[in-house]
């Protein structure tokens, strides 16, 4: 490890959830490649692409996914010589000693957002504020003391003394420049996209581009382009303004709320996708076994899921999370860093949520398998002496995949919402993990404050709303396209 860290300047860290998240992405890419060769699947995805809502939602989800994936590349930075000296007390530059890695685990997103992450204020400040949100005793130049709102260390610091007069103009100017950059970026994206669509279409480039803008293409490119324009505008404004102002304010310990909200995206994605991923093998195996084999296997599987169903979900989750917490707390030696510890808790939460939610999918798969096993082609395969595993793999499983896919996309939004509620109840992610739930939980205590601190809550709810709305719309479109009963 030390050699690689010596060359790279950091030591890569792969957390469990990172690995699983990338496995999931790889699986998605593989199935996309497979889908290209199979006409029915291609037709179904084409149906998704034809719906403007589907394309727009997919664009938003891809943006969130990009943030989440960048945030999943973790590493431990090397301590610089100065920090090491402060820590160890050895003379600087005494020897080219083995590099010492920090115990702090950062992600690529942290590195990108370093200006946001490191510029913490003392405590609350409102969006675009140049002072703290509460009065403090400040020493004046002549030695006296006044109660006043102290200037922020970083927020609007570039404006100097007459900040009140200069701020409006400064923000407006930067807004215009940001929007101009966003327009430029959008134009580039449009040119690239139009060229991709144009390739092999046999039409002239101009016709293709006009058709895309007019919404006359088969796939709803216009919806995607409009969504992209909005996303780029928001992103450009943040890129332009966030290094100078706290665009969404700061929280109790002075952290930038925009940074917290962006970090929460990964937690939401992990819970929303990995939960379904970890429970899928159980649900598929047990559902198919119960439906196809019948007899005592069916009885046993049904018994297991009736028992799990009988316990109210929140209580089962609460009981399991409490127990898991005891396990984690009594085995501190398992985890090198605090990040690994909270990651273990996040993964365990996914497992627990998965265990409580696989029953629905298993029941659906069992019912569908019961239907499939009586169909002629399965009967024929049996009559020809094809072995049971081969029948399951070749004839049953492929015809159940649409149910699995629909479950995956339908569950996502519910799980993202559940995370916030569970974290509020105290059985969610580790309090040190940044998530929408922990953000809301911390901000809630300040509602009683007069005047109210609203921006943390607003940011968490707004991000969550956009993510969940996109997921819901996308899930609807996918279900319409893949569910044969809705054709």
């Amino acid at each position: 490890m030390s050699t690689s860290s010596g060359i790279l300047g950091f030591q890569p860290v792969v957390l469990w959830t990172d690995a699983l998240l990338f496995v999931l992405v790889a699986l998605a890419l593989l199935s996309a490649l497979r889908a290209r060769t199979q006409a029915p699947l291609r037709a179904a995805w084409r149906k998704v692409g034809r719906r403007p809502a589907g394309m727009a939602a997919a664009t938003v989800l891809l943006a969130f996914l990009a943030v989440g994936l960048v945030d999943s590349l973790h590493y431990r930075p090397l301590l610089s010589a100065v920090e090491r000296v402060a820590g160890v007390g050895a003379p600087a530059g005494s020897a080219p000693a083995a590099p010492v890695v920090s115990t702090e685990v950062l992600s690529a997103l942290d590195a990108l957002l370093a200006p946001l992450r490191l510029r913490t204020e003392k405590t609350y400040s409102a969006p675009f504020a140049w002072t703290l949100y509460q009065r403090e005793t400040v020493e004046t130049a002549d030695g006296g003391q006044v109660r006043d709102y102290p200037r922020l260390t970083y927020g609007a610091a570039h404006l100097g003394a007459d900040v009140a007069a200069a701020r409006g103009g400064d923000v407006a100017l930067r807004l215009v420049s940001a929007l101009a950059q966003a327009a430029l970026a959008w134009l580039v994206a449009f040119l690239v996209l139009a060229s991709l669509v144009w390739r092999g279409s046999g039409l002239r480039w101009g016709e293709v581009a006009r058709a895309m803008l007019a919404g006359r293409t088969v796939l709803a490119w216009r919806a995607a382009l409009v969504t992209l324009a909005v996303l780029l505008a928001v992103a450009a404004v943040c890129v332009e303004l966030a290094p100078l102002y706290h665009v969404l304010g700061t929280d109790k310990v002075g952290q930038d709320v925009l940074y917290l909200a962006l970090k929460s995206v990964r937690t939401a994605l992990v819970i929303g996708t990995l939960t379904t991923l970890v429970m899928m093998p159980f649900a598929v195996a047990l559902g198919i076994a119960a439906g196809y084999l019948g007899g005592w296997v069916d009885d046993a599987v049904q018994y297991v899921y009736t028992v799990l169903n009988a316990i109210p979900g929140v209580l089962l989750i609460a009981a399991a999370v409490l127990m898991m917490q005891v396990v984690i707390d009594t085995h501190p030696q398992w985890f090198d860093t605090a990040a690994e510890r909270s990651d273990a808790r996040l993964l365990a939460l996914c497992f627990i949520l998965g265990i409580t939610s696989w029953t629905g999918l298993a029941r659906l798969l069992r019912g569908e398998t019961l239907k499939l096993r009586e169909l002629e082609y399965v009967q024929a395969a049996r009559a020809f002496g094809v072995r049971t595993p081969a029948i399951l793999r070749r004839h049953i499983l492929p015809n159940l995949m649409h149910i699995v896919l629909i479950a995956l996309v339908m569950d996502f939004s519910g799980l993202v919402l559940a995370e916030a509620v569970l974290s509020y109840v105290g059985i969610g992610v580790d309090p040190s993990t940044i998530s929408f739930g922990t953000m809301i939980n911390m901000a809630r205590a300040e509602l009683a404050r007069e005047p109210m601190v609203w921006w943390s809550l607003a940011a968490a709810f707004a991000f969550m709303f956009v993510l969940v709305l996109a997921a819901n719309l996308f899930a609807d479109v996918v279900r319409d396209a893949f569910d044969p009963r809705r054709a």
Binding site: P312, Q325, D329
Partner: protein, 325 residues
Amino acid sequence: MLAYLLRRLLYAVPILIGVNLLTFVLFFVVNSPDDMARMHIGVKRATPEAIERWKAERGYDRPMFLNDAASGSARFTETIFFDKSLRMFALEFGRADDGRDIGQEIRDRMGPSLAIALPTFLLSLAVSISFALLLVFFRATYLDFWGVVLCVAMMSISSLFYIIGGQWLVSKLWALVPISGYAPGLDAARFLVLPVLISVIAGIGSSARWYRTIFLEEISKDYVRTARAKGLSELAVLFRHVLRNALIPILTGVVVVIPLLFMGSLLVESFFAIPGLGSYTIDAINAQDFAVVRAMVFIGSVLYIVGLMLTDLSYTLADPRVRLQ
């Protein structure tokens, strides 16, 4: 029908045993009582004596399944498994960490929980079904389209937002009702209006959309065309025919939660400081009071099974063709 119910009751026994075993494994096998004691006392202060005392106070100092020290039937009864798990079948839940009797606490707290859950349940049922019928009446128009968009948007908002936003708007800004609290008797109404209202609004999105799908499936059937052909008005078709035929799928989803209303709602009760079972559970979770959580898990599963039986009974009421045997 009585024979059927008896048989269902017998089916319930293995399920309850399963629930019981699962909770036992979760609470006593995954973690030994020693682990729990250490966690409870705090890892730093956990001396062996303190751990023993903690276990003795709560009756966790006995053997798991077999007590070799005792004789006769006491060999089986003086064990953790019998004392903490099997006793629940007799609805004896033991004491919470603060020394109070859990059974008594549950009886006291059921009232406030029901006072909030029952009106919420009835009101959301009425509102969601009416809204869904309205959307179906105007199906394939802009009203239907935007209604569904509204439903999806409302589904996408966190329930925490409804609660926090509602408290802020109604209680703080407009100062119409107290922000939280509870009073016994008729006084309670003042405290209940807001939580009930918020719960109803928070639930409309998903349930109205679900009912709409059910109604739309029903409306494409032949009997609906016949009813229209014989000259019935659209309203009569909807209320007299579609609604009644859609009852079976609706009952499947709705009746099973009726007994669970006793358990109250975790979120609403804790935000509005209502002394019901939901807030009791949340307090127990936060205080890591395992005895209370275990009791609630058991009661929850009993109520769920009761709900399943009620669902079957409700089918016979809704559809005379259904016979239970």
